[in-house]
Structures are given as C-alpha cells and as structure tokens.
C-alpha cells in the first residue's frame, strides 16, 4: 500500500472504527506474549515471598531460586532421566502412530475388522493405564518394553479414532468420481482417503503426544525400579523418599517443559502440513 493510500484511509471521518480495531489488534498481539510472562513473574515473586516471609524450610517448600539452582546442579542426573523419559515417550508416540493409523486403515478397508475389533480398542482406552500396568510388568520382562506398552496403550486411541473418522469423511462426490474412473482400493486410499484424513490425524497426533508423555510417566511410577536407566518420574519418587523437595520440583519442571515442547512441535508440524490448503491453518482477514 502506498503512502497516499494510507493517508486516505487514515481520514478520521471515515475511520474511527478501523483505528480502534487496529489498536485492539496491536494490543492483542503484544498481550498474547507479555501477559503470560507477567503472570509467571508475579507467581514466582509471590512464591519467593511466601517462602521467605514465613521462613518455610526447603524440605517443605523450596523457593524458586533454590529449585532453579537444583536444576543446574543436578543437571547431569536429571538430564539423563529426561532422555530416558523422552525416549519412551517418543517411541510410544511412534508406535501409537503406526498402530493407530494401521488399525484405522484396516478398519476402513474391512467393515468386518472394524465391527470385530473396535469395541476392544474402546475397552483398552477406557481402562485406566495405572490399573493395567502392574499386570503388564508381571508378564513383560523387559522393562523398556513394559513402559512402552503402557505409554502406547494411552496414546494410540486418539490416533485411531481420529484417523478412522478422517478416512471415512472423504467427500462422497469425490468417491463417486474415483469409482467412475475405475480407481483401485489402494488408489482410493492413497489419493483420496489418506489426504482427507490428514487434518483429523494431526489433531489426534497432538493429543497423543501429550498422552504418551503421561503414559510414560505413569508407567515409570508403577514400574518403580531404579538405578541406571530410570526416567524423570522415578527421580521424582526417589527425591520424595529422600525429602529432596527441590529436586522434585526441578524434575517436575522438566516434565512440564517436555510436554509443552512436544505439543509445540506437533502443532508446528500440523501447521506446516496443512497451511497450503486446510481452513484450520489459514489466517483470515478480519
């Protein structure tokens, strides 16, 4: 837009509304980032003051500074634990994607398969993983495999149900068109159903990312054995037994950050894959 046009539009007799709208937009843009940061700063300050003013001992409630220092000092232990948890989480997510999409494709290819197995997928999903986990660790010797199964159980269902919905929601006229042109089953899946399912799948994936972290943490609590190769959840338990409360907080912060990072990464992936064509990834004027 040239300057001349800009001035014309800035004419106050026609544009008080538009100016107000612009101001509101600008404030919203700034506020979206500054407000959460401000809230966090206030929260930390309040936390710190409560601890200092009330002389709360660090084994009851450590101040934010102490937690931060612990995070730095214990970094070696915590980072190793983070890697273990992250490994289980990402592996579980991968298996959830493969299993969820695989089952969804199978279900849409064969109505019989869907009718036979879908109810059991629901049963697996609604049974709390904490209740199944002890059994799994009885029968599965390999600890990593056991953790993985638990995390997978929690994470695969949103992928399965969303992808199934997506595969079935292909435009019916396009289905007719594929029939007219004599498309094979595989072509229909590849060129029509899978692309139609992509936005649904990515929605399920974002949920599954968070759930596989939850699954990994819960499974670690249940598995409980320590030593080398134990994840963040075990470090939290262990620190609790030793009244090392600052380390509990430090580990907790790492878990929360991991969750946020996974969500952000999957959101970015979703945006990149859909931005060219899907409504959800479009920014609209007004």
């Amino acid at each position: 837009m040239s300057l001349a046009e800009r001035e014309e539009i800035a004419d106050p007799t026609i544009d008080a509304d538009e100016l107000a709208r612009q101001r509101a937009r600008r404030l919203e843009r700034i506020g979206k980032w500054t407000l959460p940061v401000l809230v966090m700063a206030l929260g930390l300050l309040l936390w710190d003051r409560v601890v200092v003013w009330n002389d709360i001992p660090h084994y009851t409630l450590p101040g934010p500074w102490l937690v931060f220092r612990t995070l730095i000092e214990d970094w070696a232990i915590l980072f190793d634990a983070l890697l273990v948890t992250l490994q289980i989480t990402l592996l579980a997510l991968l298996v959830a994607v493969l299993g969820g999409v695989g089952l969804a494709v199978l279900f849409t290819q064969s109505r019989w398969m869907e009718m036979s197995f879908y109810p059991y997928a629901v049963i697996l999903q609604v049974t709390p993983v904490v209740a199944i986990a002890p059994l799994i660790f009885i029968y599965v010797d390999n600890r990593l495999a056991g953790l993985l199964i638990c995390a997978w159980l929690v994470a695969f269902f949103p992928v399965l149900s969303n992808t199934t919905l997506g595969l079935n929601s292909a435009d019916h006229n396009l289905r007719d068109l594929f029939r007219i042109y004599g498309a094979t089953r595989w072509q229909r899946l590849r060129f029509l159903q899978l692309p139609s399912a992509l936005p649904y799948f990515l929605g399920g994936l974002r949920i599954a990312g968070g759930l596989s972290l939850i699954g990994a943490v819960v499974a670690e609590y249940v598995a409980g054995t320590g030593g080398i190769g134990s994840g963040l959840a075990f470090r939290i338990l262990e620190a609790g037994y030793r009244l090392n409360i600052p380390r509990m907080f430090a580990a907790l912060i790492l878990i929360a950050l991991t969750g946020v990072l996974i969500f952000a990464a999957l959101s970015l992936l979703s945006h990149l894959m859909l931005r060219k064509w899907h409504e959800s990834a479009m920014t609209r004027e007004r």
Binding site: N173, Q187, L198
Partner: protein
C-alpha cells in the same frame, strides 16, 4: 393443468432418421429404491454423438438418478443402458453440482486425477492437463489451490478435469446451479464454445428453463412421483449460440414451450 401449447411448425420433433451414430441408449429403465420408492419409471432415451441433451424437471423427477445410472454409479432395477459401441476407459466425464475438487491438490493436480488413476505420470500427460486448463481459461492457475479460486473458477477446473480424458460423453449434474447469474451466463457461453471446439456429447441436468433452451438441442422434460419423461422438445436454433440468440424471439418461444411443458410436468403440485 395448462392447455397444450399450440403446435408450432418450426419445431420439428426429434428426427427419426438421424444420421449421426448412436452413442448410448436407455431402454425402459426403472429405478426403485428400498423396494417401493420409484425414482424413475420407464425412461428411454437415445443419445447420439454430438447431442446436447438437457434433462429438465422439478426436484424429485429422477433426473439426477438418471444421470447416476448413465454414469454407472448405480444400476437399473429394470431395463437396460447400453453404450452402442461399447464403453472405453475415459469415454465418460462427469461434472457434479459442487466443483468436487481435492482441496489438498493444486488445480493442475486435480485435473491430472483421471489420468493419474490410469497410472499415467504427470510428466507424461502434462500437455493434456495444460490443454484442458487452456480450454476452460485456467492455464494461469495451475499451481493455485482450490480455496484460492472463485466459485466459477472452481467449476471451470472441475470441467477441465472432466475434459482431460477427451471423453465422448460428458454428464453434468446442475453444474452451475450454485453460481450467480452473471457467472452462470458466462459459463453457459463458454461451455458452448468449448463443445464447438472439441465436439463432445453432453447430457446436462438442470431445473432452469432458460439454461436448457440456451444450451441444448434436445430438452427432455421430466415429471416427479414417479420420475418419468413426459415430453421431448427439439431446440433447432443453430450453434454457435450467443447473446443474440438469448434475446431473440425464437429463444423466448422455445422458453415458453419448455416452460409450459414443465408446468404440465408439475401438474397439480405446482
């Protein structure tokens, strides 16, 4: 019921001794859903090469059912539909009421689809795809996504996709019904120009009297409950037809005839 229109000497009945080869024939076709809903009763139609046939009628008259039957998307409960010389791969193009484009694919990729489903790579058929786009005036938009196009342009892309296999018969199911009138007129003009250029046969479903008269050389008027053909009108105005035809007295007369037939078709329901 309105009285029968006075017989007009300048409208000939469909010539019995048409020399053009027959493309497709429907004989006494019934379509019955759920055992008792008669969607189509005793429809017979022969489509000759180069025909532009409109199926005109109120909703529920079975015109879309007839089109689906011809497209092979469903099968007659009774009667037969036969391609006189047999049907080859790509002989049929279809345009639906909605543009029905794949939103995740560019315009060119959408047009490529029928050829892609035959296993042809894009590089091998690029020229065909671009030719089809050129025919509908979308050559500058090959890399655009459907959501970037206007309603009329989406429909053009949809038509280009139907043309890309060089079909002998194109079925169109109220393709312009959802468009504004100015765009509809443009697309009507362009459709005729296009048919002039490539000489394909068209069966066109519409509920617009004006559209059917402007476009077709034969109008099949259909009635509802049960869906059936009640009259066939020939529109003998020569092609190419332009705005001159659209404002002529002949056009008005044909419209009156078709309109009367449609009123008769709607009978007491109107």
């Amino acid at each position: 019921m309105p009285s029968e229109p006075a017989p007009r000497t300048d409208i000939a009945p469909p010539a019995a001794t048409d020399v053009r080869p027959e493309l497709l024939r429907m004989e006494g076709v019934d379509k019955i859903f759920n055992g008792d809903v008669v969607a189509l009763k005793g429809m017979s139609l022969d489509v000759r090469e180069g025909d532009f046939i409109s199926l005109l009628g109120p909703s529920g008259c079975g015109k879309s059912t007839a089109l689906r039957l011809v497209a092979g998307l469903s099968h007659p409960s009774r009667g037969r539909i036969t391609w006189t010389g047999g049907q080859d791969d790509g002989d049929l193009g279809v345009v639906f009421q909605e543009p029905t484009l794949m939103p995740w694919a560019t315009v060119a990729q959408n047009v490529w689809l029928p050829l892609r489903l035959r296993g042809q790579s894009y590089t091998a058929v690029k020229d065909e795809v671009l030719d089809a786009l050129r025919l509908v005036g979308l050559e500058k938009f090959q890399t655009a996504y459907p959501r970037e196009l206007s309603g009329g342009m989406k429909m053009r892309a949809s038509i280009a996709r139907a043309l890309v296999t060089r079909p002998r018969l194109i079925l169109m199911d109220e393709p312009f019904a959802a468009l504004d009138e100015i765009t509809r007129f443009r697309l009507n003009d362009d459709l005729l120009a296009l048919r002039d250029k490539i000489g394909c046969t068209v069966v066109f479903v519409t509920h617009s009297v004006f559209e059917s008269v402007f476009l077709s050389d034969r109008i099949v008027v259909m009635a509802a409950r049960p869906g059936r053909v009640i009259r066939e009108l020939a529109v003998d105005a020569p092609y190419p037809r332009t705005d001159t035809f659209r404002t002529s007295a002949d056009y008005a007369a044909y419209c009156r005839d078709a309109s009367d037939a449609l009123h008769a078709a709607m009978g007491d329901a109107a």
